[in-house]
């Protein structure tokens, strides 16, 4: 029996390690490639070990940009990405919190209709409504602006439903106790509901930040200026240079830089994220 268990463990680990290798190897190769010089890659002499041009590559990329298609420094792209990802995540959370609060705790006319309308928008992600949305954003002169990058992506049925489910598990007596304690609706929201939603907020923030960070189609469509494009769009432009040679070492460095912030967010908020997914604190 013990032998069997060991064998089982061994195979389980083997498979897991193989899985990790399959996922991690390309990432490793990207890191390696970002430390080589242009010639080494162009000649196909790329090995498994990092080269010595790492610092130089990253410095040039961050502050000067590539030589061809996009000349904007990646530093600017990171800022654009960060601002819009934060804007989208925070905006989505704020709006869904408030709408879920309204739907669960207030009796107003057409409440159920409002709920179902929100529900319906689940079927209308940006990709589906891209033309009308573009038209509106263009008419409002929001092209090439942070408002244009974030606002159309902020409404979120998923997050609203999530908070609605959570609020419905909060015992009614808590709201009643707060009422007797003299807390008005906004005070109850701020003093009781919000702190109780803390872990849910954190989990949702991680997911939405990554969602915002990874936006590609929408920013590609509405940004024309180099200094208003997020890094995910930037990678693509660095890679496709048409007539000139792609600077692969810089493209890879951009990819590495694009991966870092989401990774940092996940690592930084891991504890709360897991708590938010598994634990309900009531």
């Amino acid at each position: 029996m013990v032998e069997n268990r060991r064998l089982g463990d061994f195979f389980a680990h083997l498979i897991l390690i193989a899985g990790v290798a399959i996922v991690a190897f390309p990432v490793y190769m990207a890191v390696v490639a970002s430390t080589l010089d242009a010639d080494t890659i162009a000649n196909g002499q790329m090995g498994l070990l990092p080269g010595s041009h790492g610092l130089e590559n990253y410095r040039r990329l961050l502050f000067e940009g590539t030589s061809y298609t996009t000349r904007a420094p990646v530093y600017g792209m990171l800022v654009v990405s960060l601002i819009s990802a934060l804007g989208i995540a925070i905006g989505k959370i704020a709006i869904s919190l408030i709408s879920a609060y309204a739907i669960v705790y207030f009796r107003f006319p057409l409440r159920m209709i409002a709920f179902w309308l929100i529900f319906l928008t689940l079927m209308l992600p940006v990709e589906v409504r891209i033309y009308p949305t573009y038209k509106i954003v263009a008419d409002l002169h929001m092209l090439d602006s942070y408002a244009g990058l974030t606002i159309p992506l902020i409404a979120s049925a998923t997050a609203t439903l999530l908070f609605r489910q959570f609020f419905m598990t909060v015992p009614d007596e808590l709201a009643e106790a707060a009422k007797i304690d003299g807390a008005g609706p906004m005070q109850f929201f701020r003093d009781v509901l919000l702190p109780l939603s803390r872990t849910n907020l954190a989990a949702l923030f991680v997911i939405l930040f990554i969602y915002g960070w990874n936006q590609y189609l929408w920013p590609l469509l509405i940004t024309t200026r180099d200094d208003m494009q997020p890094i995910v769009v930037g990678i693509k432009k660095i890679v496709s240079t048409h007539d000139a040679l792609t600077e692969w070492q810089l493209a890879m460095a951009t990819a590495v830089l694009a991966m870092l912030p989401p990774v940092l967010v996940v690592v930084g908020m891991q504890k709360m994220f897991v708590k938010g997914l598994v634990e309900t604190e009531k």
Partner: protein, 356 residues
């Protein structure tokens, strides 16, 4: 300090459920009034109307001299203790108790003094004040919930089955504490429970409810000794009163369904001859007769309670229980005769169940 007055209060929920149907009674200032009745009879609804958590469909509720029907809960000068405690899970015990006072813009030193005062009365240690509610036992949470109520120094305490989530032993202990606390603070209290023993032991004044109506109001012993209806008679007391159907044969004598006679105290205005009646006798007021007189009883089961014995059986077809004091002998055989004093027989109308 204020009394509570309910004048023909009714509640119809939006769905059409008629939960409370015209309830009137007055709780004197400083009194502890217990609302008791089976589950679903409208006790919580009534209490929540007093708290201001439900609207009043018709009638008037007054606290002190003021009709409070349209006043916000906070402005009613009440505090409520919920069955599931409803403590704010993310706040420390201290903050839970302080929250209401902070909303009233009470100065912090005053809050601190009041919370510590309440904690001392309820025997909550300083260390416990720093904990979150989930790090407390059920009994301690219950105390915190009471602490939250008393720091406000309200005119009226409202309790909705505050002990139902505790185990039996703790329930008895907390029951005594609530009683002591209420006596000490002399604050008017309305207390809801479905447990008749809790109701009997706590109440200055007992209100028995059934299906949205008040069956009887009075002091616990008064209700126990002179129940106004078969409902009250059957609800108060454990084991409950025994009921036997019969007819009046002569003044002071009823003929029961099994054909035997039962003597009762005729009083001044006895029911007319021939009337259908229900005779009620408490198990502890029944014993076994030595002779051949009395109702025939068929023994079915004996329960040992330590405090005595409970003998279950039948009189005719009706179930009948006899509570024997410790040491009293059991009847020798399967059948016996019951000794019932005429003064211990309660008579109720055969149809309406109202006391005759």
């Amino acid at each position: 300090m204020a009394g509570v007055l309910l004048d023909n209060v009714a509640k119809i929920y939006p769905g059409g459920v008629n939960a409370v149907r015209g309830v009137s009674f007055a709780v004197p200032d400083g009194g502890l009034c217990v609302l008791v009745g089976p589950s679903g009879c409208g006790k919580s609804t009534l209490l929540r109307m007093v708290a201001g958590l439900e609207t009043v469909t018709s009638g008037a509720i007054s606290i002190g001299a003021r009709v409070v029907n349209d006043i916000e809960p906070m402005a009613r000068d009440i505090a409520m203790v919920f069955q599931n405690y409803a403590l704010y899970p993310h706040m420390s015990v201290y903050d839970n108790m302080a929250y209401g006072l902070r909303n009233l813009k009470t100065p912090e030193p005053e809050i601190s003094a009041r919370v510590r005062d309440a904690a001392r009365i309820l025997e909550l240690s300083d260390e416990m004040l720093k904990r979150k509610p989930r790090a407390l036992s059920g009994g301690q949470r219950q105390r915190v919930a009471m602490g939250r109520a008393i720091v406000r120094k309200p005119a009226v305490f409202l309790f909705d089955e505050p002990l139902s989530n505790l185990d039996a032993k703790l329930r008895v202990q907390m029951r005594v504490e609530i009683r002591r606390l209420q006596r000490r603070l002399k604050t008017t209290a309305l207390y809801v429970t479905h447990d008749q023993l809790e109701a009997m032991t706590l109440a200055d004044m007992l209100v028995v409810m059934n299906a949205g109506r008040v069956e009887q109001v009075g002091a616990p012993l008064e209700l126990y000794e002179r129940p106004a209806t078969t409902f009250v008679a059957g609800f108060l007391g454990s084991p409950p009163m025994n009921f036997l159907n019969g007819k009046i044969e002569a003044q002071g004598l009823a003929r029961m369904e099994n054909g035997e006679a039962l003597a009762y105290d005729a009083g001044h205005f006895g029911p007319p001859i021939g009337a259908d009646i229900i005779a009620g006798v408490r198990p502890e007021r029944t014993s076994f007769a030595a002779g051949e007189d009395g109702l025939a009883f068929k023994l079915e089961l004996v329960e040992e309670l330590g405090l005595g014995r409970l003998v279950h059986g039948r009189v005719g077809a009706a179930p009948y229980a006899v509570a024997l004091p410790p040491g009293a002998p059991l009847p020798p055989g399967e059948t016996a005769r019951l000794a019932i004093a005429a003064g211990d027989v309660h008579l109720f109308d055969g149809k309406s169940g109202v006391r005759l």
